[in-house]
């Protein structure tokens, strides 16, 4: 395990130039706030839904390169998917973080670059923060709730 397994170029690119990082989202349907009690990192995620699909998704917050880059890659992979499909993809990423092989590597797009993070158990939570926030935002939308604060212990 070397530092390069953790910090692949794709990951650093997302960290340096994050996609869909914004403090607000026009027409926002759901806002969730997640935090990681281990490191104190915080993340706000905003979701807009149209035709039962992820129409807009932005994240904001403070965190390490892994958490920020993973959230960035997640938004790119998830926008445009139906809510159910996005939940399935989030579950696929979660399993990959626990050492299983991804069943949908082509759909994860840059998300596959995080496979190596699974070898660094303390950083798995960082990589999962954005994905679990997205899962929560979608589930929150499906229950009809609109604001949700979660301390993340996944």
């Amino acid at each position: 395990m070397s530092l390069d397994d953790l910090y692949q170029e794709i990951i650093l690119d997302h960290y340096r130039s994050p996609k869909n990082r914004a403090p607000s989202l026009e027409g926002e349907d759901v806002h969730v706030h997640h935090s990681n009690p281990l490191c104190g990192d915080e993340m706000d995620l905003r979701l807009r839904v149209a035709d039962n699909a992820v129409d807009g998704l932005v994240f904001d917050g403070e965190g390490c390169s892994i958490s920020q880059a993973s959230a960035s890659a997640m938004t790119v992979a998830v926008i445009g998917r139906t809510l159910d499909d996005a939940l399935d993809l989030a579950e696929d990423f979660r399993r990959m973080m626990h050492g299983e092989e991804s069943k949908r590597p082509d759909d994860l797009l840059d998300g596959v670059a995080f496979e190596g993070v699974a070898k660094f158990p303390v950083r798995v939570k960082c990589a999962l923060l954005g994905w679990m926030a997205a899962k929560d935002a979608i589930e929150t939308y499906l229950t009809g709730e609109r604001d949700h604060e979660v301390t993340h212990d996944e």
């Binding site: 650093l12 390490c64 390169s65 660094f120």
Partner: protein, 411 residues
């Protein structure tokens, strides 16, 4: 410095290993210290030669085990200037703080009382109070931290002024800022405002690195832990005024801690056994006793002097790196061996991962001090902490790793 660090380093087997092909540079003793051979031998000796339970067998082995256990109490008591029966063994400092919260705070405070604590406390010293407040409804007041990393004692005087503060919880040395607090002064201020005020000190970060005389501080309770002072994990202690312990009911109950048990009820053993329910941590006590011997042989004043020199060099080295700023006091005379810092544009987790690749162990995160993190306006910091086995050779790898992190993560 009058003890030889190179010789002492050889006492700590972990320090001779490599990680990622590099010499291990251990800069996380504020989280837990390494273990010297005499401590390992003492624990091993218990398991190999006199393993038996304490305080009950009438055979030779049990007497030897009891001597080890009670001998550790005697040694620790001597180290902090306290009477033996004022030393209660706990599993760590957190349990010691909870013992105070459950057996004193919850038995003595009500909704009209006030507790005074500080923004720089470790969660161990505030969460038991926040929890007790849910049930009792007392008020908690917070001494703020000044820009220079010191407690604002003028504000503390104002917070004490109405004489309603009945309990003070304050840390002796900050695990984040390194600040050494004037706990004797705070205790005197609190008593002047209210003679009945009880003062509890979290001494976790103090006892490993400087001479501490608890009675001389004029405080009532003093929590400490073994694993940061060269001892094993799993043992700590509450040092308390015996008169106070005498009045307190037990925290945990069960075996060992009783005088008599009938179907009607139970009566409690004398102190300190009243607070040590069940089979205690015997091997760990043997280890802690050996750790106290080890530190006493070096001399805690020597450890303190050594650390001050190191801290001065580390502060200077860190501040030479562009983008690094150190939290807490600048004057090594005012601080212990923990140095928290930030590196502009690089998250502490990423600093930690990069330093790890250089063989350097530092702690990153909120250090169980979320109120302080909020005060500093950060989610997390990186923290390097030095101890008796560190030397100036440990500084260049830290600086090298930080320079690498700064350029690697530059945006």
């Amino acid at each position: 410095m009058s003890f030889d660090v190179q010789t002492r380093k050889k006492d700590f087997p972990t320090l001779s290993r490599e990680v990622h092909g590099r010499r291990l540079v251990y800069l996380d003793s504020a989280a837990t210290s390494q273990t010297p051979l005499p401590v390992l031998d003492a624990m091993d000796g218990y398991y190999r030669t006199c393993r038996s339970n304490v305080h009950r067998g009438v055979y030779q082995l049990a007497e030897e085990a009891t001597d080890l256990y009670e001998g550790a109490r005697r040694k620790l008591a001597a180290l902090v200037g306290a009477p033996e029966h004022g030393v209660v063994f706990t599993k760590n400092a957190t349990e010691a703080c909870n013992l105070v919260a459950y057996s004193w705070v919850r038995r003595n405070l009500g909704p009209d009382d006030v507790v005074l604590t500080t923004h720089m406390e470790h969660h161990a010293n505030i969460v038991p109070l926040l929890h007790a407040r849910e049930d009792l409804g007392f008020e908690i007041r917070w001494i703020p931290v000044r820009e220079d990393g010191q407690l604002d004692l003028e504000e503390a005087a104002r917070l004490l002024d109405d004489g309603r503060v009945r309990f003070v919880a304050v840390g002796h040395v900050s695990n984040v800022l390194g600040t050494i607090n004037d706990v004797a002064g705070i205790a005197a201020m609190a008593r002047e405002a209210n003679p009945d005020c009880i003062v509890h000190v979290d001494g976790t970060q103090a006892v490993p690195q400087m001479p501490v005389d608890v009675p001389a501080l004029g405080v009532d309770f003093y929590a400490l832990t073994g694993h940061k002072m060269c001892g094993p994990t799993g043992i700590g202690a509450l040092v308390a005024r015996p008169e106070l312990l005498e009045q307190m009911p037990p925290f945990l109950t069960g075996g060992e801690m009783i005088l008599d048990v009938t179907t009607e009820g139970a009566t409690w053993a004398p102190i300190p056994g009243r607070f040590e329910a069940g089979t205690p941590m015997i091997a760990e006590a043997a280890g802690l006793g050996a750790a106290v011997d080890y530190l006493t042989e070096i001399g805690l004043d020597e450890v303190r002097a050594h650390e001050q020199q190191l801290v001065a060099a580390f502060l200077e080295g860190l501040e030479r790196i562009e983008g690094v700023s150190v939290h807490g006091p600048r004057d090594p005379a005012l601080r212990g061996g923990a140095i928290s810092f930030k590196l502009d544009g690089v998250h502490p987790h990423d600093i930690g991962a990069m330093l790890d690749s250089y063989g350097v162990c530092v702690r990153v995160g909120h250090h169980c001090t979320k109120p302080l993190m909020r005060h500093l306006g950060v989610n997390a910091t990186a923290r390097a902490s030095v101890y008796l086995y560190n030397d100036l050779d440990d500084l260049p790898p830290l600086l090298e790793g930080l320079e690498a992190a700064a350029s690697f993560f530059a945006r």
